[in-house]
Symmetry: C2
Subunit: 156 residues, 2 copies
Amino acid sequence: MVSFDPASLLTVAHAEALAGLAEGGVPIGAALFTVDGELLGKGHNRRVQDGDPAMHAETAAFRAAGRRSHYRDTVMVTTLSPCWYCSGLVRQFGIGHVVIGEAATFSGGHDWLAENGVGITLLSDAACTELMTRFIAEHPELWYEDIGAETSGSGT
Amino acid sequence: MVSFDPASLLTVAHAEALAGLAEGGVPIGAALFTVDGELLGKGHNRRVQDGDPAMHAETAAFRAAGRRSHYRDTVMVTTLSPCWYCSGLVRQFGIGHVVIGEAATFSGGHDWLAENGVGITLLSDAACTELMTRFIAEHPELWYEDIGAETSGSGT
């Protein structure tokens, strides 16, 4: 049973995405909450800021939450459908639910998570979609780098 | 075609695992190489050392390698079968090949990676297996925490 307000949680992730954009980074934000709405950690993609390709929004939020013995009572909220890397994080650590801002600009592993018992709430949020649509249009190379996708010009 | 020597690459990951053990950490090591054998980055699990649950061996090696536009010509070597989190990393970023020390003490997502086109070399290395077998026996709580597995006493 979902006892939290997904839209309310998304505002925290969206604020993180905007903070990342203001720093010149990839504007994706995330946060980890308990199902009772307690914030455990939040963060945003730090590829540009830290030169760290491993620091996606979800991993940043997960790291910020610190060490825990289990995650079954937690909810990951992210502005964008989680990529395979971040979907793998959710599955491995048994995060119970994922709230997703949008999956229109990029669709990662959320269907796979649902098939494996993770609760998924897809909000199709217009502000999140607009933010990523604009970023991808303005910085395609950075976006493709962030998801490990090769552009047509660099393929074999 | 595999043009590198898997056993030679594994020695680098194994040395990282031993460094982690000496620091009191989870003894799993990894390294990212090009298919020509150039070392791009290496690291080990840093859950204990940094209080960072997101820093598995593979993510540490990936971070150490820094930003790259693509990974199709890279090989990830790890002392232990990659968990879903680290398998997701490999799939998302298109790492072409994974060399695994052992999958006897823990089997993660390497079959899933193989099904999705990633080359897998499983070495069944005795030293790697012995290292993890001993660690799990001596520090079960730490090990279960590292893979997000709840022990029978804490389950619902």
